[in-house]
């Protein structure tokens, strides 16, 4: 299983959970698994072309992930971050 850290902006989907588990061999697959459990959550992070939305960041085991086809292994961590910019 992959450990996923949910940012505050998306916790309305996870009933407030900060850490959730999901299965998947890539970030994309993990997000699909999350979306099956929490409908709508993926589209808030990934657009319809499969691109990570501007100012959203995904980290795999602490390293910035620029693509969602990045391979993951059991026990890995995906950290979703929403940049706190704006006003």
């Amino acid at each position: 299983m992959i450990n996923v850290v949910i940012p505050s902006q998306l916790r309305s989907y996870t009933d407030g959970a900060v850490r959730v588990e999901a299965a998947g061999a890539t970030i994309d697959a993990v997000l699909d698994a999350l979306d099956a459990r929490y409908p709508g959550i993926k589209f808030r992070v990934i657009d319809e072309q499969g691109a990570i939305r501007p100012h959203m960041r995904l980290f795999a085991n602490g390293a910035l992930a620029r693509r969602i086809d990045l391979a993951l292994a059991d026990g890995d961590e995906v950290f979703i971050a929403g940049a706190l910019s704006g006003g």
Binding site: G40, F43, R44, V45, D47, E48, Q49, R53, G82
Partner: protein, 373 residues
Amino acid sequence: MADGIRLLIGTRKGAWIYRSDGARKSWDVTGPIMLGHIINHVVCDPRDGKTLMMAAKTGHLGPTIFRSNDDGATWKEAEKPPAFLKSDEPNARAVSHTFWVEPGHASEPGVWWAGASPPGLFRSADGGATWENVAGFNEHPKYWDWCPPDGGTPDGALLNQIQIDPRDKAHMYIATSTGGVFESRDYAASWAPLNQNVEASFFPDPYPDYGQDAHYIAVHPAMPDRLYQQNHCGIYRLDRPGDRWERIGNNMPKEIGDIDFTIIAHPREPDTAWVFPMDGTEVWPRTSPGGKPAVYRTRDAGASWERQDRGFPPAQAWFTVKRQAFCADAGTPLGLYLGATNGEVWMSDDEGVHWRCIAAHLPEIYSVVAAPA
């Protein structure tokens, strides 16, 4: 006397609902709803009088649609929000935000339309739960001419409005910020520009077939062959079956000009409409001209205009009223409502003669829609 009124207010940081009885003298507020979300439009379904549809974007999160069937007490997210088709082209589009939601024709309960940035048209046939790409516009062979990728407003290029002929569900108009007005007579399967004689002063040819920035169009509900348009470059009227717009803004006072974001038609009087002018000189401040807010009313289809400013600050007031933030109710006399960029809501219960502020300190207001309570 009007029936009870709800004002559905979308702002840069959430939505609010103001309610009043038919007297329209005092207002109760519900909100904030979705605090912190960017709410471009909140609309009540006139076909059932209760369903609310809300276009939302949230900081850097993707855009979505929320809907409520209990007068805004609870909201449910669309299962499939508006999205373009998947594409491998380098200019593949992704919806940045939904800007406008429009209930479908009265004969089609459950049908809704949405306009987005970048310009995109979407349709739902299940009350807003799932939304489909409308290929007739989004995949039109001329799409990239009508909606060039480098065009747009500071908030992005927009398909900012959808209007449906109340006599014919297949007859539709859309307004865009990059191509002007387009018309479909086949239920959005095909589209053609409708911009004859509308100025686009920012092009070498100031009267192109398309390329105009149509801020707002009003299809008159009682006389659907009459359209009013507030364009980036002026105020226009079109009487169908004609296809040549007349610049009725030329009849505005020269010191005020005819630049504005929106135009509101009187629902019972086809010759009556209101605008809220803004400063479109030099660097386009888009504030009330001279810092003196006022609406202007025509009662002769644009042949003449009269200033209505009683109650507004007499000086040093610099707010702007955006595209969806000016509306009318159905009362007698007609009530008018406008939401300002400074977070104030102003109303008139006598067709614009007197104005008063009924709400202040809200976030920047993007939309105000009146609906029966």
